[in-house]
Each structure stands twice: as C-alpha cells, then as structure tokens.
C-alpha cells in the first residue's frame, strides 16, 4: 500500500527548525559552553536530516548530515564551540534554507557554496581530512535474502529465549507465528522443562523454549530475519535437516541453564535502584548535608530549565491561517447580527427578549475577544529575527552594534505582525546605516564604541507601541528642512517644528544619505514604511536629539477586524470614527463659528483646536443644525476636531472593506453594517486631515501666486 505523503509538513517544519536553529546559534555564540543549546542545535539538524531523508529531500539530508557530524563533536566536547563553527553553521543553515527554497520552485542552490561550507566544517574536526560519510552500524534493512530454492527444505529451529526476554516487550509467540508464515508446514514443540514449581514461578520470566520444524522454500537467512530484534536475547539454532533425519530429542535440559542464566540476586537489584545520594552517604564518601545541598542546587537548576523548556514547548495546535480567518469572519458576522438583535429587542420593548439579547451580547463579546486573542502572536519572534540582521549589517558596515529588546511577549494580531516585518527592517537598517556611527567616530564623541539598537513593544490602551531606539547621531531638524526645501518638497520660507521636521524623512524620494550604500540611501525605504503603517491603520512618531540618538515609535491597533467606534450623524448619513482616537466631544454653536472669523478653529479651555466640517467636506446637502457637535480626536499627535450634527454613541464596528472600487477613497478605511442593516462609512481621520492640509496648501499657494 502506498501512502500519499504531503511534503509540505516537512518543509513547514524544516523552515521553523531553521529559524530556531539560527536563534540558538546566536545564543550559543554568547554562551559557547551551554550544553543545552548545543543539544538543541544538534537536535534541530538531526531532525531535518532524518525527516528530510524520509520525505525524499536527499540532498538536504546529506548536507545536513555533514553539519550534524561536526556538531556532534561539539556535543562530545571533542571540539569547542568557536566563532568559526558558529559562522560556518550559520552559513550552513542559510544553505539548507536555499536548498528548501530551490525544492519549492525557487532558484537552484549554489552547490559550490555547499562544498565550501562542508570543507570548512571538516577542517574543524581533529585529524581532519576527507572524513568519510559515517558508515554507521548495521541497519535493520533486510539483507538481500538468498534466492529461495525450488524444493522446500526442512529446518530445525531451536529457540531458547533469555528468561528476561519479556522485559523488552518481545512476545515469543509472535516470532513463532512469523516463522509459521514463511513456511508451508510448521511443527512447533514447546519445551517446558525449565519451568520452576508454581511457587517459584515468576510470571514475568520466560521459561519456555521451542523446537520448530519448518518446511519452507525460503532460505536460512529468511529464518534468521524473523529474529532480528532478539538476536542477542535468545539462543538460536538453525539446522537444515535431511529428509531421513529422525526428529531426535536431543534437546538439553534447558531448565538449569535458564535458571542459572536468568539469575539476578534480589539484593543486587535493589541496590541498583537506590538513589545515588543515599548510596554515597552510606558508603561514607559524603555527609548527608552535603548531599542535601547539592540536591537543592540540582533541583533549582532543573526547575529553572524545566520552566524555560516548558514555556518553549507548550502544547500547541497548528491551524492553517485560512481557517482562522474564516473563524474571524464568522465572529464578525455574529457581532453584526447580535447588534441587530439588540436593536430589535429594545424597539420591541420585550423584556424577556432583552434579557436574552443581553446574554447573547455578553457571549458574543467573549467569543470575539477569544477569537481575536487566538490571532495574537508574541512579537518576540519578529524581534529575534532581527538579531541576525543586526549582526550581519554591523559586520558589513564595520560598526559594532548591540541589539536589545523589551516586551518580546507583547502580543499583536498575526496579520499586523506579518506586515510589520518589512517596515521594521527598513527602520532598523536606517538606524544602523545612518544613525549609528563607526566606532572611531563614536569614541571621538565620547561615546561607547559599541552602538545600541533597542527594540521595545508595549500595550497602550487599544494600541501597541513599537519603538526602535538608537544611540546614534540623531536627526538634525534644520538639515532636514533645508534638504526638503532643496528638493522642492517645501516652500523656501517654511518653518517647521522639530517634530514636523523629523516626519520629513518619510517623504517619497527623500534621503539624507550622501552616498548610496547597498543598504540604504535610495530614499525608497521610509515612505514605503509610512504607507505600510498607514495600511495597518497605525501612526508613526519620531523623536530625536542631535548627537544622542533617535527613537521611532510605531503605534498600531491591536486588531484589524473589529474596532470600537463612535457612531455619528450628519443629516441622514451615518459615520463611524475610531473610538480609540476620540478624546472628547464639545458643542459648536453658531456663535463659536462667528467668533473664529471664518477660520475653522475653536477654543477649548484656552487651546486652539482646528476642525474639519464633515458636512462640507463630503458635500452633504442640507442645513446644519443650530448646535453641532465637535468630536475632538488625537490625529497623528495633533488634536483635531470633526464637526457632526449629533453623536449617537458607541458602536462595535465590524470593519468591512470597501473593495478595489473605492481604493481612491482613502478617507474611508472601510464600512460597517449597523444593527438595522444600513451601511455606515468608517472615517480614516489621519487621511482626512492630511488631505485637508494638502488642499489648503494648494489653495494658499494658488492665492499667493
């Protein structure tokens, strides 16, 4: 029978193992004597090799075997864990990865590179030189059986199992059955002379032996094959009989021999089972308190290791992303329908129904929270990926950089994490390339020659703040402004606050680099970063001090699919604002408008807050009411108001995409379906503000011209 083997199970697992392998290697570099880590590295390669061979990835298996062999030496302390070993193993890891990619339809892996790595590894072995492929011991592959003969022959097979043969799960009856299966005729005679009297009989011991007369066309080897596993646990005697030979009974008295052979003195057994501490104390080698102290130490280390290991291998289930997405969609729909249920229940004034609706609301909320949390992953894995990046980049650029992290167990929605990867890479590259200075420059400035890049993640309300902090040379707001003016992004007399100047680095085509390195300078990275963060409905903030360093903070929503919204009304139309951004609601009367002399601002506790009139912005026909409401929100760190007719209230908003057709309608981040079935548009406050600002600029320019 053939079983359809799905190789994706192997490749998925292999990629994961390669990530873990990389992380372990980097850790090992810091603590080269940690046997635990060495073991982990070894095991990872061992698994890849074994599974690779099983799933037909022979090249990968062979290559990994080489690496594993050398690492095994590190495990036995035959060689030490050196930087060279780590470098080579890291290179090997990359090679394995490209082999896997090649198998998945990518470019073929570089065979020369593979050879170089293997040679480098072999050179590390003591007395190295052309280490042959490990021939290993005998394998369980059946040796080619001799060709069966035409005529059946009779064999006498004497089987005398060791008394303790049961102890390793062998069932002699199965062996007999197998013998029977290979022959045309089989006579089995049990010999139980070795059986002791009942009171001495140990049911866990085998006292029986057998003589089997087997008629078969198969060879003697076929018979021996039956006993492959018990080769050393029983006496086996096979003899080809001539037809004429008499079935003599020259079986020895096995009884005595068995008893003798199987004899283990009771006391010896017990001694072997006693804990080593007690035995040492008894023999007077150490005092019992010394043993106690050592035990305590052992327990402490073990407990720590157990905890660490447990945390890493907690039981988990693999779920395909599509299934999870499907679940999230369903939960979203449930939330929508539940809102309708609520609405209907309250309009109907049916008390019983309302109670039930409340219960459903509670359950739906929990279900939603649960589902969302399933999609949450710790950002630690992403952070760890960057360790390698930082290491390689700093080597490439001749800088010394250390990367530290904080809040690695902060959780984010899986999709957000996936899409964060590239932007973070850009930002870190920037820090390393442009931010952190070379060691001599740093020393000249009285800084530690080793630069620091610090990644941190922390929950803040309904968002997550991800920070990339470096202690490099910082940003010069004046230089940035000058460059922007030079490039025509800003008018010549532009005056920017430091914060605004820092944001210039995200402009398209903007780069402060004097020369273009392999890493950056093309001015392509940062504006893509901004767009990616926008797409995630997040925001970016930059803080910097010249000479001291720069901090880039990404603020991201915890979840993409459902947000807490504030439902507002303008004329007959309903809109939703993200509640997380909303700070307060203030009344706007005609008098207030008049007082502002046609500028769209309002005075709130002595603070001037600009606002956008939604009615005007969206050309909604009709007259505004006497008193309107301003929803003041935090938009890109600026307080901005949005004028509506009325604020309806909080609304759990399931975000539905507007689709490709409305791609250009950037001021709307999506739509949602309300309890009564109508569609309300969700506003993207940041985009709205940006558009208005851009238009006002154009307007003022055209007026000035």
């Amino acid at each position: 029978m053939s079983v359809e083997i799905d190789t994706s199970a192997f490749t998925e697992e292999a990629y994961e193992l390669l990530s873990e392998l990389e992380a372990s290697l980097l850790e090992l570099e810091e603590s080269p004597d940690d046997q635990d880590l060495i073991g982990r590295v070894f095991r990872a390669m061992h698994t890849i090799k074994g599974s690779g061979a099983m799933f037909g990835f022979d090249e990968v298996a062979e290559f990994t075997h080489e690496v594993e062999t050398i690492f095994d030496m590190a495990r036995n302390k035959t060689i030490s864990v050196s930087k060279t070993l780590i470098d080579l193993t890291l290179a090997a890891r990359d090679q394995i990865r490209s082999m896997l990619d090649a198998a998945a339809g990518g470019e073929p892996a570089d065979k020369n590179n593979a050879q170089k790595i293997i040679q480098g590894l072999r050179a590390l072995a003591p007395g190295a030189g052309g280490a042959p492929k490990d021939s290993g011991g005998g394998s369980a592959k059946k040796p080619p059986a001799q060709a069966s003969v035409d005529e059946p022959h009779v064999y006498r097979v004497r089987i005398k199992p060791n008394q303790d043969i049961f102890a390793n799960g062998t069932n002699p009856l199965l062996l007999l059955g197998e013998l029977r299966d290979i022959g045309e005729d089989c006579q089995i005679i049990a010999q139980y002379e070795g059986l002791p009297p009942l009171e001495k009989l140990d049911p866990e011991q085998c006292y029986t032996s057998w003589e089997v007369f087997l008629t078969t066309k198969q060879s003697e080897n076929a018979i021996r094959d039956v006993f492959i596993f018990v080769d050393d646990q029983c006496e086996l005697n096979i003899r080809l009989l001539d037809r004429e030979e008499v079935l003599g009974n020259d079986v020895q008295k096995l009884g005595n021999i068995l008893v003798q052979r199987g004899d283990i003195k009771e006391e010896v057994l017990e001694q072997a089972l006693k804990p080593i501490g007690d035995r040492l104390v008894e023999s007077g080698v150490v005092s019992s308190s010394q043993v106690k102290a050592a035990l305590a130490e052992q327990n402490a280390i073990k407990a720590k290791r157990d905890k660490k290991v447990q945390a890493e291998s907690a039981t988990s289930v693999r779920v395909p992303s599509e299934k999870l997405d499907g679940l999230v969609d369903l939960v979203g729909e449930l939330v929508t329908v539940q809102a309708r249920l609520n609405q209907t229940a309250s309009t109907r004034q049916d008390h019983d129904l309302q109670l039930i609706a409340e219960e459903v609301e509670r359950l739906t909320g929990e279900l939603r929270d649960n589902t969302m949390s399933i999609r949450m992953l710790a950002i630690g894995t992403t952070f760890n990926k960057f360790k390698r990046l930082v290491r390689d980049l700093s080597t490439e650029l001749g800088k010394q950089i250390e990367m530290t992290t904080e809040g690695a167990d902060t959780e984010l929605d899986k999709t957000v994490i996936d899409q964060l990867n590239d932007p973070l890479v850009h930002i870190i590259r920037n820090s390393i390339d442009h931010g952190i200075e070379t060691p001599d420059v740093r020393i000249a400035h009285g800084k530690n020659p080793q630069g620091l890049v610090h990644l941190s993640a922390i929950h803040s309300g309904a968002s997550v703040l991800i920070r990339v902090e470096d202690d490099g040379k910082g940003l010069d707001p004046n230089a940035l402004t000058r460059k922007a003016i030079e490039k025509g992004h800003l008018p010549p007399d532009a005056q920017l606050t430091d914060k605004e100047a820092f944001m210039l680095i995200f402009g398209a085509g903007f780069s402060m680099a004097e020369k273009i390195t392999n890493v950056s300078g093309r001015g392509v990275g940062m504006d893509v970063v901004r767009r990616s963060i926008d797409a995630l409905r997040g925001s970016i903030e930059v803080a910097s001090e010249l000479g001291k360093g720069t901090t880039i903070t990404l603020k991201l929503p915890l979840t993409l699919a459902i947000i807490e919204g504030l439902l507002v009304k303008v004329a007959d139309e309903l809109f939703v604002l993200p509640l997380a951004a909303v700070e307060e609601c203030v009344e706007l009367s005609r008098t207030d408008i008049a007082n502002a002399h046609n500028r769209h601002v309002i005075n709130v506790r002595d603070e001037i807050v600009p606002y956008i009139r939604i009615r005007d912005r969206f050309d909604i026909p009709g007259e505004a009411p006497e008193i309107e409401q301003i929803v003041i929100s935090d938009v890109d760190s600026k307080r901005t108001g949005f004028v509506v007719d009325s604020v309806i209230g909080q609304h759990q908003t399931v975000i539905k995409s507007l689709g490709k057709n409305f791609e250009h309608s950037e001021e709307f981040s999506g739509a949602t379906i309300l309890g009564d079935g109508t569609v309300a548009l969700i506003l993207d406050l940041s985009k709205m503000v940006r558009y208005v600002e851009a238009e006002e600029e154009d307007l003022s320019e055209s007026v000035a011209a």
């Binding site: 292999a14 090799k49 599974s51 490990d134 069932n171 059955g177």
Partner: protein, 121 residues
C-alpha cells in the same frame, strides 16, 4: 484491528507520516512530542504499543523506554525505537533500556508496517 499505537517524535513531519501510515492500516494512533508528553498522555489512555524517536527534548527516547518499563502496565508492551544509521551504539543502548525492536530512518511506510506486525501481531 483496533490496536492503539503511540508515536513519539519531536518532528511533526515524522509523526504525521507515521500516523498516516498506521491509521491507513487500521490502527488507532496517539501522538506525543517527547518523552515527557508521552508519559502524560499514557496516563490518560493506555496503548498497545509505542514507537519512539531517540533524540527528543525534555525526555529522550532511551529515558522514555526506561520509564515505560518501570510502569507495571507497560512492562511488556512492544516498544520500537526510530534510529538513524549512524547511531549503531544507540540501538544497543535502546535494547538494554528495554526496547523490543527498531526501525532505521529513513524508512518507507511498508517497512514501518512490517515491523509493527512483527512485534504487535
């Protein structure tokens, strides 16, 4: 046949392959990711046979075999270990620890089934 076999391996691809092969032949399968996990699961439900890898974190195969043999319920069940060619010494170690037999990786499904039949019947 209704017999239950436990497969212990830290590699999920191996577990998958073994599991599929065994299920296809009519056995019930329980999976464990290492020795520790295996012992925990065995407390919950008994099995008729164990197939275990040797190199695993938390508790390796040899230790698992020893632990199993120390449990009254599992003293005599067939235990087969998965080894690789280069571990000839381990085979002996495994046998001494109480393993019934072994299968060498890489193996093809029919080979696995042959061994199972041999020690389980």
């Amino acid at each position: 046949m209704g017999k239950k076999i436990m497969t212990v391996d830290d590699s999920s691809s191996v577990r998958q392959m073994v599991g599929l092969t065994l299920k296809g032949a009519g056995y019930d399968v329980v999976e464990a990711v290492d020795g520790q996990d295996a012992l925990t699961k065995l407390k919950a439900a008994p099995v008729d046979m164990v197939v275990t890898d040797l190199n695993m974190p938390n508790m390796d195969g040899i230790t698992l075999i020893k632990e199993l043999r120390a449990l009254p319920n599992y003293k005599f069940i067939p235990i087969v270990m998965l080894t690789t060619e280069s571990q000839a010494g381990r085979k002996q170690e495994g046998k001494s620890a109480g393993a019934t037999g072994w299968i060498v990786k890489p193996f093809k499904p029919p080979q696995l089934l042959d061994v199972i039949k041999k020690v389980l019947g």
